[in-house]
Assembly symmetry: C2
Homo-oligomer: 291 residues x 2
């Protein structure tokens, strides 16, 4: 049996499953403080005698295997979690091989192995919800450099009719500051799902998301782009985003995937909300194969 | 003996050298039409009996090894070169292993193996000259997805005091449209080297370049960024770019490489104009090792 954790800011999804990606049992545990949350998490995996564990964590995290703080959550404002040695805590409790990465990188892996990017060696997973984040698989590897990507904070041009100043505490009007769920609510005075039939809301949302997608396409040229998260459940955004990406690129990347088959290029997650936990399970499989 | 080609829009640099990166002999051949240029290129390598060849080519090119047009130059406006089967032409003439990639990806490889990014498994090489282009090594591999990166065309916000409309035929005011050599000349009425002591020219140039670097840092998180090309010979830009990158990120990526040691993070090429040809030689070495 393999173990998987999708650690989010409000809850931990813990699951056990098999190497083919089947989830056998799962629990949700509230993200309170490490002292309160971790004992529950650990006892779930002890009960199931897992052989290996994959973790996809909210961040920022240290994913540099050569770093003394590898596997720590780093500078989060969430009380109790800054500098929490997540990986070490799990290793000391379970004594099994554990692989650690970001929630969004792991979601990209899940969609690649069992979801909308099957058969490819590359995809990008963007989540648009309370925040905006993205992970990617590039040439078969979870994307990593100096650190993990922070693609949710790329710069975007301001819509000429948008007077909302942006809510990102670091950059104000970066992508997250202009396009995450709270930006929609602050700009229009209602939550996204209450604005479903207001076309201008989604045109503006697509205006920002399409710019970010253009940056990603020009930089890492993903073989498929998967857009998930709460805001993307407004499925009417997809055609708007696709159209604006084509208009922005303006034929510059003349690949049929973008110019002709964009409906299959920019897609919702095939695994729905299970992309992350499935990817974490596959991370456990990978570490077991390496050992 | 190994062979290397750095194929540019105005000239081909052809070289022979050894596996340690030493260049023994090189020639420059004008980029006219394939009919005029290629026979000279081929005869240089035949004379030297090279065992393998690495090519870094101007683009766009097809670098997808599963594509029927792999190794072709694709949609260039350069007369005679659109759809030219570059790789096939060389293979049929020389009957040796040949590896093919973009000029900028290959320059990144050169700097990684013999230049400013030695000892790392990741770097980004940005060239700012007649055009703007970038290549990268990510987790040890030359970056590639659906196609090669086209990072020179990322979107940038307009400087509030800039009335120049941009000269990119596809996007007008993308990075290349606002920051390449011709943009400087059109905006200020003189060539870059004639404007050396005009501070506002380089502040504005850094304003655009820093935005692009921020996008690259947030997306692929390169372990070092190398900036070359004609415009970057104005060395006074480097401190301006570094400062603006720090201001834009505003502490969001709190890694010491960026917050404290940025002078060693954003650097000129250690190989000067030899980054590309050295990288092409290393590409030849790699294909020989694989065979």
């Amino acid at each position: 049996m393999l173990g998987a954790i999708e650690a989010g800011g409000t809850k931990f999804v813990c699951a056990v499953g098999t190497e083919d990606g089947t989830i056998i049992e799962r629990v949700k545990i509230d993200t309170l403080t490490p002292e309160k949350t971790m004992p529950e998490v650990i006892s779930f995996f002890k009960k199931h005698h897992v052989k290996a564990l994959g973790i996809g964590s909210f961040g920022p995290v240290d994913i540099d295997k050569n770093s003394p703080t590898y596997g720590n959550i780093t500078s989060t404002p969430k009380p109790g979690w800054a500098n929490f040695p997540f990986l070490k805590t799990m290793e000391e409790a379970l004594h099994i091989p554990i692989e650690f990465n970001t929630d969004v990188n792991v979601a990209a892996l899940g969609e690649l192995t069992h979801g909308a990017a099957q058969g490819l060696d590359s995809c990008l997973y963007l989540t648009v919800g309370t925040g905006v984040g993205a992970g990617a698989v590039v040439q078969g590897n979870l994307l990593q450099g100096l650190s993990h990507p922070e693609m949710g904070h790329v710069l975007v041009k301001r819509h000429p009719e948008d007077t909302f100043e942006g809510f990102c505490p670091y950059h104000k009007d970066c992508l997250e500051g202009m396009a995450a769920g709270p930006a929609i609510e602050k700009r229009w005075g209602k939550k996204g799902h209450e604005l479903q039939h207001q076309q201008e809301v989604w045109e503006m949302e697509a205006f920002y998301l399409a710019q970010a997608l253009m940056q990603y396409i020009l930089t890492i040229s993903p073989k498929r782009i998967i857009m998930g998260g709460g805001v993307m459940k407004q499925a009417q955004i997809f055609p708007l985003v696709r159209k604006q990406v084509q208009e922005l690129l303006n034929g510059y990347v003349p690949l049929p995937q973008i110019t002709e088959q964009i409906d299959e290029y920019i897609v919702p997650p095939a695994l729905g909300d299970d992309a992350g936990i499935t990817g974490a399970l596959m991370l456990a499989k990978q570490i077991l194969e390496k050992e």
